[in-house]
Amino acid sequence: MSFAPVTTYPKSAYIETDTGNKVSRRATISGPQNIVLGGKSIISPSAVLRGDLRKAGSAPTVVITLGRYCLVGEGVVVRPPYKTYKGAFNFYPMKIGDGVHIGEGSVVEAAQIGSWVVIGRNCVIGKFAIIKDCARIADGTVLPPNTVVPALSLFAGSPGRFIEDLPETTQEVVEARTKAYYNRFQPAEQ
């Protein structure tokens, strides 16, 4: 357990779902029917989730999948990537695993983000980037489109490059930290 103080928020500022997701009322969620939140995830104010940018066709599709214990920071834009394939323009769904923290002001257009990934502030994650489990993206990184970030690696800079390997304990550390963050994020007593 962590001894850090509880971070409080006014109860009316967030909507809490049955599965424990906390979504700020000031966040922009377009096409909510196409977004799946895994539970116990936090969406901060002025974040933008673009669930409306979906694949062509009338069948219901999931555009953004978010795992458990995720944190989408303030001003983050999460939108699915697009490309033309065989001459047809399309958006492609985006999957984000468990315990992913995305820092303030980042823009994420990745195809896939694994579990226990930490993305710093003001990052730009290019289209169709793939970030594997337990990776870390430092603050202000610009990952070019189609980058693959291997598991347990730290990427930084513009363009984002491999810096170092992370210790094998990363998963436990990040897991504990993300869970503690969620548990500490409590409504203020009125």
């Binding site: 922009t28 979906r54 323009f89 823009v107 003001n122 730009v124 610009v142």
Partner: protein, 177 residues
């Protein structure tokens, strides 16, 4: 005194209702404006040509007295900020890139993501310039190879969005048609 608000939006343009407009703004046909975009014509008017794509969080400001002309089929990516005087056609402004009011773009220029271009004296970038690196420190000319494919992608992108956005977002119309 700030100019009066006057929005002219072409009937074939798609402008989401969650867009902040101020001053004299003209938006051309087939242009797509995502939600959360800010377009402020503080001093002079802003004219945006046809077929542009303006993604969420983009800020377009005109602080100069004369008209800010933005050409056709330009792509403004997420959270970019543009104050430049003139812009030609088919430019790409990357995610979180910033263009200062001294900068002008001609055509087929690319400003890479997170690049801040703020020249001290007014500067016009020639056709096919690519800006990259910290603070736009590096630039080179692009051969123009694949420009047609890029254009085709842009057109398909705009066409797709024009169909898709009205399904999920409310649209806003101009004052006059």
């Amino acid at each position: 005194m700030p100019p009066k608000d006057r929005f002219v939006i072409h009937s074939r343009a798609v402008v989401c209702s969650d867009v902040d407009l101020k001053g004299e703004v003209t938006i051309g046909s087939n242009t797509v404006v995502h939600p959360k975009v800010t377009i402020y014509a503080v001093a002079g008017p802003i004219t945006i040509g046809s077929g542009c794509i303006i993604e969420e969080g983009v800020v377009i400001v005109n602080r100069r007295k004369d008209v800010m002309r933005i050409g056709e089929e330009n792509h403004f990516e997420i959270n970019s900020r543009v104050e430049c005087a003139v812009m030609g056609n088919c430019n790409v402004i990357g995610t979180r890139a910033r263009l200062h009011l001294n900068a002008s773009l001609s055509s087929y220029c690319v400003v890479q993501p997170a690049v801040e271009f703020s020249p001290t004296t007014p500067e016009m970038l020639p056709d096919y310039t690519v800006l990259y690196g910290e603070g736009a420190s590096e630039r080179r000319l692009w051969s123009g190879q694949g420009a047609e494919q890029e254009r085709a992608l842009r057109q398909k992108h705009a066409e797709y969005l024009r169909e898709l956005l009205p399904k999920f977002n409310r649209q806003r119309k101009g004052d006059v048609d």
